[in-house]
Symmetry: C2
């Protein structure tokens, strides 16, 4: 049904990447998403808790349940949240596909960067919709690697990026899922839905954003798949190394640009 | 220096495509661009006058000069503008690279979908900046075909799209120029500049926009390069035909999505 394989791995460097990324992208991704005090929110695939902390800070007084398939990630998430002093979250080691949740229990569901790592995203959405109370909402945020574009683009940097994409596709997952969100939500029977692209464009007029996007998000994200990529011979090691270097150099190049679109889908249970 | 070759050709169908496209994209592209009554505005590469009409309607009382290298396009532009009753525009048959304009004569310069068709866009920008009065502004709008993305994407529809891109690149032009605007403007010595992406995303939640984007802009745009593409054997004729069909079918597919980013660059002469 669902594989435990995860293209980005579970290293400390990757934990740091996820936390830094979440802060840089917070306004872009969370803007417009707010939950009333007392509402029961389910976060699916919380990982190391990067989005969990933001949900708790931006939505005081919610009753949050955050689940993940990785016990190691849950431990990190729990530790971050305890360090930040939040008490209103329960962490559970769960797999959505086990279908063990009580139907209609949650007012809102939040899923960020998770569907891209599933083999059966539509099935997951169908199961999740049953967990919502009538009128409850679901919010999905996913990337679209096919929108990723930078300048100067060298053959090596494109090969490194494609290595990440192919490596994720070889697991049966879809790194370009963002631009299919509307179709997936329709197939899952979610109505009252709306999908919008959320884009980052950066050039040397905003050097800090360009550097953050390249060196705190994108280059470490590509790097996180190194093990899979080199083991499966997806990219020749010399080109891989050069590609990471070229990608990182975009941030300091006077011609440097970076463009990427995430997609946010929002739907509601109508019955 | 500059070639007269133009990938989209000069047919009546293409004239209609340019006019329909300009109306669909008007808010997206022109929003935030306005010129005071009495200001002297130069439109470079007005073509058949699709943007000219919008400039005249949105900026009453400007003194507009619209130039183009094609006499045939200028005749069409002049006829459209006369039919609409505008008197405040002078059409001139000019090539920017001939450098025959008086320096400092214009308060504002507007260029839309033109740099992508030049072999030397930076040189063109340098020449144009000399024509601005001190404090004068320049506004550039260009597409980025590398951002073009649709679902369902078939091999044939991607091949047809790539045929357009390669055919334009074979002329020495750059259909992906949008994401390089900031770098080109820097190289041309333009300061006080700002570049922003302007994106269209459409799916079946907005079927009219999806249909307009696909069947009034994108499919006819790809089709406009048919002559070059088939003559140069860039795409096998059967695949070409299927590709156009598949592209058009996106608009009526329940999973249909379309995504594209234009870029708008604005700069000012500071001395």
């Amino acid at each position: 049904m669902i594989t435990q394989e995860y293209v980005h791995g579970y290293t400390d460097r990757e934990t740091q990447r996820l936390q830094e990324q979440s802060l840089i992208l917070e306004e872009l991704l969370h803007s417009g998403t707010s939950y009333p005090v007392g509402s029961r929110v389910l976060e699916v695939g919380c990982g190391v808790g990067a989005q969990t902390l933001i949900l708790l800070r931006r939505n005081p007084g919610i009753r949050l349940t955050s689940i993940d398939m990785s016990e190691e990630s849950l431990r990190k998430a729990k530790s971050s949240v305890e360090n930040a002093g939040y008490k209103n979250v329960e962490f559970r080691h769960e797999n959505v596909f086990d279908d063990k949740f009580e139907p209609g229990l949650y007012d809102h569901i939040f899923i960020c960067f998770v569907l891209e790592h599933l083999e059966q995203p539509v099935e997951a959405l169908k199961l999740l919709m049953k967990l919502l109370s009538p009128g409850g909402t679901i919010t999905l945020i996913e990337g679209d690697h096919s929108s990723g574009k930078w300048n100067p683009e060298t053959a090596a940097s494109r090969a490194a990026w494609d290595g990440l994409v192919i490596s994720q596709q070889m697991l049966g997952h879809d790194p370009n899922i963002g631009n299919r969100l509307q179709a997936l939500m329709c197939e899952a029977g979610i109505d009252r839905l709306r999908v919008e692209p959320l884009e980052v464009y950066a050039d040397q007029s905003v050097p800090d954003i360009l550097d953050g996007a390249i060196n705190q998000i994108i280059a470490p994200m590509v790097y996180s798949a190194e093990k899979h990529i080199l083991e499966k011979d997806l990219v020749e090691p010399g080109i891989w190394k050069q590609g990471l270097k070229d990608l990182s150099a975009v941030a300091s190049d006077p011609r440097g640009t970076f463009f990427y679109s995430w997609f946010k889908g929002q739907g509601a249970r109508s019955d």
